[in-house]
């Protein structure tokens, strides 16, 4: 397994891999790639691993309820992405494509097995290192995940009671 230390040392090699990974991902797609973002199996696996690390203790503790909440949040992330310009949707698709590629996941992310096997601590370490990485592309990717996941979570009225937000005036919001 790639350790966090070796992961942080990657630097230039990582940047090249990031570029190559994005290109490889695009080449692997059909020529007439759809314009709209698709939450495919691989992208969903990334989200299911990243959402709990991003949201932390706001998710329910009960395993079954937690799984339902994560799946629902992933769906709302997809909906938020579908509201972005198509060029941005493609950038987000490329990000998930890159995160799904084995070599990128191992070297850049530090997750050696599949996302489904990633330990929560590994995912947290991945988020923290991209958050502070000297490569701007990785910081941008972290911020994209941050904004998409938090935005989708707190946009949901079901979460408002947990933060003491009463929501808009019922009579006008109906």
């Amino acid at each position: 397994m790639t350790t966090r230390r070796s992961f942080l040392k990657i630097g230039v090699a990582g940047a090249l891999l990031l570029a190559a990974g994005g290109a490889a991902y695009r080449w692997s797609q059909p020529a007439a790639a759809p314009h709209k973002f698709i939450l495919d199996h691989e992208a969903l696996a990334v989200l299911v691993a990243v959402i709990p690390a991003m949201l932390g203790p706001v998710l329910p503790a009960d395993a079954a309820a937690r799984a339902v909440a994560v799946q629902a949040a992933a769906g709302r992330v997809r909906d938020a992405i579908l509201g972005l310009p198509t060029a941005t949707q493609k950038e987000v698709q490329d990000l998930f494509g890159l995160l799904s590629l084995g070599p990128a996941r191992r070297l850049l992310v530090g997750v050696s097995g599949g996302w489904a096997q990633a330990e929560p601590r590994q995912v947290e370490a991945f988020l923290q290192s991209w958050r502070t990485h000297r490569l701007q592309a990785l910081q941008v990717a972290y911020l994209a995940l941050h904004d998409l996941i938090f935005g989708a979570w707190y946009a949901d009225p079901a979460t408002w009671a947990s933060i003491g937000y009463p929501g808009p005036l019922q009579e006008l919001a109906a």
Partner: protein, 540 residues
Amino acid sequence: MSAIPDPIQAGLAAGWRVTDCAQLSSDSTLEADVVIVGSGAGGGVTAEILALSGLRVIIVEEGALKSSKDFKMREAQAYPALYQESAARKTRDKGINILQGRTVGGSTTVNWTSSFRTPDITLAYWNRHFGLKDYTPDALAPWFGMMEQRLHITDWPAPPNENNDLLRRGAARLNIPTALIRRNVNGCWNLGYCGMGCPTNAKQSMLITTIPSALRHGATLLTRARAERLVINGDKAAQLDCVALDAAGLSPTGRRLTLRAKHYVLAGGAINTPALLLRSTAPDPHDLLGKRTFLHPTVISAALFEQRVDGYAGAPQTVYSDHFLHNDRIDGPMGYKLEAPPLHPLLLSTTMAGFGAQHAAMMQQFPHVHALLALLRDGFHADAPGGSVALSAGGAPVLDYPIGDFIWDGARRALLTMAEIQFAAGARTVTPVHEAAPAYSSWAQAKAGINGLPFKLLATRVVSAHVMGGCAMADDERQGVTSGDGRYLGLANVSVHDGSLFPTSIGANPQLSIYGIVARLASALAQELTGKPAARPAAA
């Protein structure tokens, strides 16, 4: 069902000429006296004055026509429906997030109603450095006065909400003067949801004032129509080519519109107007088009208070301080204006740095969160020259806005000021919005901490809601692409009527600057096109 009367639905029922171009099944060619691109502050004011003056007007809007029946005060619906790029428009390096409207009424449909005349010192700078001799406080006063009356811009009688009052109280303890913000509202319910479209039609946005007035006077409104390029023939625009967008506003449907007019007014905002002119390969002999784009780069300071702040409730912006705009020369170290932003869950949670337990702990305190923002006044110093708009391969605008040490110095001083004010107001903790900033528990700790933070791209959260410049006015073509009367140099029948005209940033929320300045430009244009004095709009 809401009992709020909806003037847009009533107008449509009464036969307004409005075409949702997403529904077009064939290409179309239309003619008018004047085509106006954009329905925000600049386009709305222009449309009303020209239509009242008897001119046949077509208004082209990329967004959709939404109205109070659609405004349900939910961020998840409002941002994709009413903002450019779902309220996530960004600069090229993604270092600055930009809030800009994209709907009928433009940003005025979603702004926070703060109304300031253009500061005298800004106009004096324009006189001195850009030769704009007609831009004096006295010369503009009647136009500001007319638009203040038209849009009910008056003192706000209700007390500030706690989020704003904490700015007033904290500043007072430090002997920093504050004042109250005037607002363009009529019968406001003091709800706090201005940023999601006013659900009670109290906000006097273009959506419910000038645009309906223009439509009552025979104007045509095309929605979901994107202005692609002016076809230029010699020194004139011969036609405007537009593409129809789908209902979601994301993709062209394949239907096209050709618009022909005697005159074209561009008012798509300071990113889209320069981009349209760039796509049209408009004359630009001195390489100034799309240059000097200003943002009022904005930094944010969050704090936690013992008492409830309820930053989502009540008029969003009612208190401000210009103290730090005036304690140095306008072209000295960067000055900043202090205000409070409204706090809603989606915008706050995405704005606040960090993740996991740290982020959750802050959100748990949501009703106790207070925030201040500082608008950095760009464009007055050689080291704050603004950004530039260019075109992507697909023709979409891309704004590049580098942030250098001069601006970071302003950001640091602004975060220090805001933390000091928040502690003076009684904050338990203060957290500058920065990836490396913890929650500080005293002013001494914050002062040392903020002075030690690395100020750099992506680490420091920088946002903007005020895009200006890119088609600067000047009396010398080596300094600007438009003249002081808003005419595009080198194109006899093209005017620019939006914030892109400004040769610097304003140093205040810009809506009233656009209303007043454009009212004068549009009145002169109406007189030129009709040979009669322009009609004077009045509040309904």
